[in-house]
């Protein structure tokens, strides 16, 4: 390993610098060792070391250096191990960093893909939309190729999962951006008593006060004074290194810092995020060494890095003159200042640069830049007309290794757009500024079109006071702020050049001609232009490119930028690591009170809505199908026990309880005798079956009923809503959680139950479909004699905390009868043998009761029930399909159909299997299927297309398959 390179570009200490010179940091970039300081970012340390190619451009793989140095320099994306696409102008330098540039083939210096720069003529805008569709067979090849060449960074699938807990926070006023206006706003709102959070995405606060000094120390002193003001306010929380990544409804803002996301709820938001400096467009404006003036100033004042030795300044505003003075103070040889404006700078800065001997060329432009070894070596300066046309008769060539541009700004208004602000284009200032802000949203500073320092401070104070007053704090009325008179942005910072390579979008390598071509192809609306050319769709999301794109399109269409408009600025404002967004996979899971019993018995789980239920109980050495069959056999011949506690359970009280049930279910319940139960079907307003259950009448004014497992929450909710409209005299309680339930079923169930209850279980005292309240195993229970599985059986409901006790008692008493717990799979088979449907499996979102064979449960001779009117209409139309039972002709049972396999007749779909299983008691596969009505008559043969296209013959048979007379449920004993 070679010794770290010296850093020839590091300046002597600069007041206010962010680096800590006492702590050196060794790191590597592209295999070469370098040294920086704590507080550095890789871009700064590398630039100080003389590295100029920090990355390669996306499409043409041209060398790129620093451009904006404003946290969106996405041509300098780096990877460190598993961490990819780090922004080299943001990521704090850490000891041991081993960095590589992304998007290169063989390293950033010798990138083999740089050949693409020579092939540019064959890669016009939108080429991939047109070129790679034919021949179709080659598309997979091209897709793989493009995925390989276009990805940024290499994903390491062995990267550890990072847990990034979210934090929640609250504030009266959130101020986004801690530059002069943001700090002034926070001080004003804080002094009024508001709880203020002030965030800034940079490592330190201060914004332009820190880096835009104009060769003076006054702004730094202003910064220190504001910092002191903030520090004196305990109700103001200042958070540097924190990005406001997105604004969501009601001031819900995602704050992202190095380690986590904080979801902050504010009552008001002040956006003081400043503006993005915009590049000028001329030939080779992407050469390393060409950078925004603000980038050079940040290099100097934050990191004490000399950006270049000899600089030409291209400008159209006062900021460029300040930059020239800052560079001069840093020991850079500066000149000339090329001012795009024929009239030049009107402020006193004009005189100041003259005094220090910097030449100013008014009404000139930079026609092109020339590079050598991947860095700027010369610029060509010409007079121009301010409209893009240079007079190339007498070009002036100036040797330089740096060109700084300050020709315009675009507001950092993403949060304002997200908050619903209307932005309008101000022709005088040549900037989009807020035209209408939603309530509680304020803008201050450059984003508000205010550029001079005093005005920024006044504008921030105004916004802070307005926010405080809106929230009811006692604050003085704000003074109005005098508008800036000079435009900070040039209307046309674009110089034509026949040879192109004049970049507008540095993320996506888009040149001026790409926009002309896109518009010529008809994509001349800003949203279409964006999608076709991909302008603004790169990682920096148009921060340095959208404004010039809008100006180009405006000129093409002969409109103003305001008429062209802007594209939508969606969250997030900057790239956010996916680890910050990843949650814990919070999907609530419910377990019945008997969960541990099931687990102890070897339950294999299945999901039913939010619940975990035993699918079956595994017996070592046996396959699932064997276990299920044995569980079913136990129920048919002996006794089984299943946990049905996941059923929805609802208590209904009151004088109108019966009338209420008659309105929400299809059946009649007012006449249901106390101590009896009745099957109940629920429809929605379109007459579709949505739920079923059993209604038990416990007392004259007290019903207790069940719903399906998955329907429980929704049914309860909708019942509440109906009564919110009907105002019947009822009380309704969701007892799903409070009650556990289990079904003891099989010919020996009575014998088991009898041992642990004094309740008279004789057929006479407790008939089929009866319900009794009694103590079972010493536990107060509701016992329903129902027969979902088609055997003598008791569904026992007890308070949830006593479920374990009852289960144990039943299992203990049942041991003598070889009791067997059975799971959902066996229950499905057993009920299928009885022809009982499962809502949602044997019905779908369009099934009417008659189609599902439930016509017997629909009582049309009631004044009203939900869905009644629709059933009436549907019945007059005749059946569309019919649910019928079928069995396979024994010979074809080798290939069994599955649920959802289609019934095929004459090559057309004539139905669909909803349930199917092998039934031991029938001795064949049996199932339920929706069939065309003319296929549904008993004995009709039909074909099911099973796996692999095998046609399996089946035959319609009468339901139920098992015990048609229902004697098994009523046996005495």
């Amino acid at each position: 390993m070679s010794a770290p390179s010296a850093a020839p570009g590091r300046l002597p200490p600069v007041s206010g610098e962010w680096i800590d010179r006492s702590r050196t940091i060794d790191f590597r970039f592209e295999g070469v060792a370098y040294q920086g300081f704590a507080g550095d970012v890789p871009s700064a340390a590398l630039w100080a070391a003389g590295v100029r190619t920090l990355g390669r451009s996306f499409k043409y793989h041209r060398p790129r250096g620093l451009l904006s140095f404003a946290n969106h320099d996405v041509n300098a994306l780096i990877q460190w191990g598993a961490r990819l696409n780090l922004r080299a102008d943001v990521e704090p330098l850490e000891p041991g960093m081993d960095l590589t540039a992304v998007n290169t083939f063989g390293g950033v210096q010798g990138d083999r893909a740089r050949v693409l720069d020579l092939l540019g003529a064959f890669l016009p805008v939108g080429f991939y939309y047109k070129a790679f569709h034919r021949p179709r067979a080659l598309f997979p090849f091209w897709e793989r190729f493009f995925r390989r060449v276009t990805g940024l960074g290499r994903l390491d699938f062995r990267a550890p999962r990072l847990h990034t807990p979210k934090r929640y926070d609250f504030a009266d006023v959130l101020v986004v951006g801690a530059g002069p206006s943001g700090m002034a706003a926070a001080v004003a709102a804080g002094r009024a008593g508001a709880r203020v959070v002030l965030v800034d995405e940079n490592a330190r606060i201060g914004g332009s006060l820190g880096w835009q000094r104009g060769g003076d120390t006054a702004s730094l002193e202003r910064l220190r004074a504001l910092e002191a003001d903030l520090a004196a306010l305990p109700n103001v929380s200042v958070r540097p290194g924190t990005l406001a990544a997105g604004w969501y409804a009601d001031h819900w803002i995602a704050l992202v810092d190095a380690v986590r996301m904080t979801k902050l709820r504010a009552r008001a938001t002040i956006v003081a995020g400043g503006a993005f400096e915009q590049p000028a467009v001329f030939r080779n404006n992407d050469l390393p060494g060409v950078m925004l003036a603000s980038a050079a100033q940040r290099l100097v004042h934050r990191y004490a890095v000399k950006p270049m030795d000899r600089a030409v300044v291209l400008t159209a505003n006062a900021d460029g003159y300040r930059a020239a003075l800052d560079l001069l103070a840093a020991g850079v040889s500066v000149g000339p200042i090329v001012d795009l404006r024929a009239e030049g700078e009107s402020s006193g800065l004009s005189e100041r640069v003259k005094q220090v001997g910097i030449q100013v060329l008014r009404g000139h432009c930079v026609l092109e830049a020339r590079g050598r070894d991947g860095r700027l070596c010369e610029v060509t300066i010409c007079p121009w007309d301010g409209q893009g046309n240079a007079s190339t008769a007498a070009p002036q060539k100036v040797a330089c290794d740096g060109l700084v541009m300050s020709t315009g700004w675009a507001p950092a208004a993403a949060l304002l757009y997200q908050a619903g602000a209307k932005m309008g284009f101000d022709e005088r200032r040549q900037q989009f500024v807020p035209a209408a802000l939603p309530e509680g949203v304020f803008a201050a500073g450059r984003v508000n079109g205010v550029f001079t320092l005093d005005n920024k401070l006044a504008d921030g104070e105004r916004a802070g006071l307005e926010a405080a007053r809106l929230l009811g704090f006692d604050a003085p009325a704000p003074r109005s702020v005098a508008p800036d008179l000079d435009a900070a942005s040039h209307p046309w910072p674009i110089v034509d050049h026949p040879a192109g390579r004049n970049f507008v979008d540095f993320d996506e390598d888009l040149q001026v001609k790409d926009f002309l071509n896109a518009a010529a192809e008809g994509f001349d609306n800003i949203e279409l232009l964006k999608r076709f050319s991909t302008v603004g769709m790169g990682p920096s999301q148009g921060k340095h490119s959208n404004m010039n794109a809008i100006r180009l399109l405006a000129r093409i269409r002969g409109a103003s930028p305001g008429e062209v408009g802007t594209t939508t600025a969606r969250p997030f404002f900057h790239p956010v690591p996916l680890s910050h967004l990843a949650g814990r996979g919070f999907s609530p899971r419910r377990e019945t009170p008997l969960h541990s019993r099931h687990a102890g018995l070897g339950a294999v789980w299945m999901q039913a809505g939010p619940w975990l239920r035993p699918d079956h109980y595994a017996v070592p050495g046996k396959r699932k199908s064997e276990n299920v069959r044995e569980e079913a056999r136990a129920v048919r011949t002996g006794v089984g026990l299943i946990d049905v506690g996941t059923l929805g359970k609802i208590e209904l009280y009151g004088p109108d309880a019966g009338a209420f049930l008659e309105r929400v279910y299809t059946g009649k319940f007012a006449n249901l005798k106390v101590g009896m139960t009745r099957y109940a079907v629920m429809l929605d307003e379109s007459g579709v079956v949505i739920d079923d259950g059993v209604v038990a009448r416990l007392a004259e004014q007290h019903f207790y009923f069940t719903t399906t497992t998955t329907g429980a929450a929704v049914v309860y909710r909708e019942l509440q809503r109906w009564n919110a409209q009907w105002n019947l005299d009822i009380g309704i309680v969701n007892a799903t959680g409070p009650f556990a339930a289990m079904n003891l079923a099989g010919p020996k169930s009575r014998a088991v139950l009898r041992a642990i209850t004094s309740l008279d279980l004789s057929n006479e005292a407790f008939p089929y479909l009866g319900v009794r309240q009694a103590e079972v195993a010493g536990v107060p229970a509701r016992v329903m004699r129902v027969g979902f599985v088609g055997e003598l059986g008791y569904e026992i409901h007890v308070p949830a905390h006593q479920a374990g006790h009852l289960w144990d008692a039943l299992m203990q008493e049942g041991a003598a009868h070889d009791i067997r717990p059975f799971g959902v799979e066996a229950q499905r088979l057993l009920r299928l043998e009885k022809g009982h449907i499962i809502i949602g499996q044997d019905t779908d979102g369009l099934t009417h009761p008659d189609e599902a064979g439930l016509e017997w449960a629909v009582k049309m001779d009631k004044p009203f029930f939900v869905g009644q009117r629709s059933v009436d209409i549907v019945r007059r139309r005749g059946l569309r399909q019919k649910l019928a039972g079928f069995r396979l002709d024994a010979a074809s049972a080798a290939v069994a159909p599955k649920e959802c396999h289609l019934v095929i007749r004459d090559g057309r779909i004539a139905g669909r299997v909803t349930s199917v299983a092998f039934s031991e008691v029938v001795g064949a596969h049996v199932g339920l299927a929706f069939l065309d009505p003319d296929l549904s008559a008993e004995g009709t043969p039909f074909f099911i297309r099973a796996d692999g296209g095998t046609m399996v013959q089946a035959r319609v048979v009468a339901l139920p398959f098992y015990d048609p007379a229902g004697d098994r449920q009523k046996i005495s004993g």
């Binding site: 009601d250 819900w252 307003e685 509440q720």
Partner: protein
Amino acid sequence: MKILTCPVNGPRPVSEFVYGGEVRPMPDPANTSDFDWADYVFNRSGIPGVKVEWWYHLASGTWFLAERDTVADRVLRTWLPGEEHP
């Protein structure tokens, strides 16, 4: 995330609520044409404007009504069914 004001529980994040659709009076089933009934059952108005909607506060099981400007996505007022429209 939006804040919605439950008339019983006060302002809560919208994730605690279930949207119940626009309030649409049911026509008298006995005295309405098949066509009008089908219109009531199946058609919903997507026309932007101020609408009265059902909302349900899931945590407490409270149905209430909200007047919402669907253009600005702003809730103008909320109240319990049966109460006077404030």
